[in-house]
């Protein structure tokens, strides 16, 4: 397990970070839509929703890039887990209230015709990503990262490391 853990961490970093970069980048080009997506969840005051619609894509990009290059992994992992939990709350309440909206996870967003909303897929995806974030918060020492490992032994000569 000791030997595998950094590799698992690397995989978690790349999946979580890569997804965040893609999600942030796709929204980046269409911030009007991103704002619309947040408003459509009908969870927050409109001005705050509009603010988040712009801030979230930047946040996703920043955290995603840090994860991929492996800098500040613990904090980035924790922040992305919190972000995913926030998304899950938003999606669940939209589902429970029967709103007809696009999740806006990877760009897009806003109202959709009755019966076209799909909440299960994004919810499952965000659950998985949140778990990866939590894993990285607990075990932030990963392969090929900029963060320092606690003991040099995990970087070199791993075969001697039991």
């Amino acid at each position: 397990m000791k030997k595998i853990q950094p590799w698992l961490g690397l995989a978690a970093r790349l999946i979580l970070g890569g997804t965040l970069i893609v999600a942030g980048y796709l929204k980046f080009d269409e911030l009007d839509k991103s704002q619309m997506a947040v408003r459509a969840y009908e969870m927050l005051p409109i001005s705050l929703a509009n603010f988040l619609g712009i801030v979230v894509p930047f946040f996703e990009l920043a955290v995603g890039i840090l994860l991929v290059i492996g800098a500040a992994v613990r904090i980035s992992g924790a922040l992305s887990a919190l972000l995913m939990i926030g998304f899950m709350i938003a999606i669940s309440q939209a589902w429970a209230r029967g709103l007809s909206i696009d999740c806006g996870c990877f760009g897009g967003g806003g109202q959709v015709p009755e019966g076209e909303a799909n909440y299960l897929t994004p919810l499952l995806r965000d659950t998985g990503l949140a778990l990866l974030g939590i894993y990285l918060t607990l075990f932030p020492h990963t392969k090929f990262g900029l963060d320092k490992s606690p003991a040099p032994a995990t970087q070199l000569g791993e075969s001697n490391n039991g």
């Binding site: 269409e30 911030l31 840090l66």
Partner: protein, 223 residues
């Protein structure tokens, strides 16, 4: 987490600072550009008090106020215009309602081009004709079809001959106004297009008041 001092940590911290710093430097002007720019030039018949929309019959009182939010590239908006456009134009012509067009641009750069060109057509008193032509001539979204050359030539189809119109289109004279319209639409909580408010209240999407001409008419007359 035991952090070891050393030059490696310096690299790491530098990288973190650069990533966070660059994104913050990009975020701040983006947030500021979303503020309403009251110095942007506005086309004829536009009222800042009515969310920067293009207003028809603004002087009437005691008639319904119909606010229409749409994006020129939105296919559903074209269907809406095809179905309800003649009725809406008759409301304007017969002075039975105040009608405000809000030309949103969330579908991308060619929506901005089109909204700017529509604003130029408002200066020529041809907004309704130009609006109808745009909706009838929708192309693949952001495919390059709605460049300013095309939009200027579409003006001639609408019977606009002035040189001022094509220079207004090409200069993007009202691009600042277009983003003001978008900001006002965001404040009005418009989350899809088309969205129609009658006397400030959205008509009922689920009761097919958008795509049943008779129900739309009833919704407007209900006020």
């Amino acid at each position: 987490m035991a952090k070891q001092p050393g030059k490696d940590n310096f690299t790491r911290n530098l990288v973190i600072a650069v990533v966070v710093g660059v994104l913050l430097i990009m975020l701040v002007p983006t947030l500021l550009s979303r503020q309403t720019d009251s110095s942007a030039s506005i086309p004829a018949n536009v009222s800042a008090d009515r969310g920067y929309g293009v207003v028809f019959n603004g002087e009437l009182t005691g008639v319904p106020v119909v606010d229409i939010y749409e994006d020129f590239q939105c296919p559903v908006c074209a269907q809406f215009t095809q179905l309800n456009g003649p009725y809406i134009e008759s409301l304007i012509a017969e002075k039975k309602a105040t009608v405000v067009y809000h030309t949103l641009s969330f579908l991308g750069p060619e929506s901005v081009n089109a909204a700017n060109a529509a604003a130029c057509s408002a200066d020529e008193g041809k907004f309704l004709d130009y609006h109808r032509l745009l909706m009838m001539n929708q192309k693949q979204e952001n495919s390059g079809a709605w460049d300013n050359t095309f939009l200027a030539s579409l003006g001639q189809t609408a019977g606009i001959t002035s040189q001022k119109f094509s220079s207004c289109v090409n200069k993007g004279e009202y691009v600042g106004w277009v983003s003001n319209v978008a900001a006002a639409g965001a404040k009005a909580n418009v989350n899809s297009t088309p969205t129609v408010f009658v006397n400030g209240k959205e008509i009922d999407r689920n009761a097919s008041e958008y795509f049943d001409a008779a129900k739309f008419k009833a919704a407007v007359e209900r006020g």
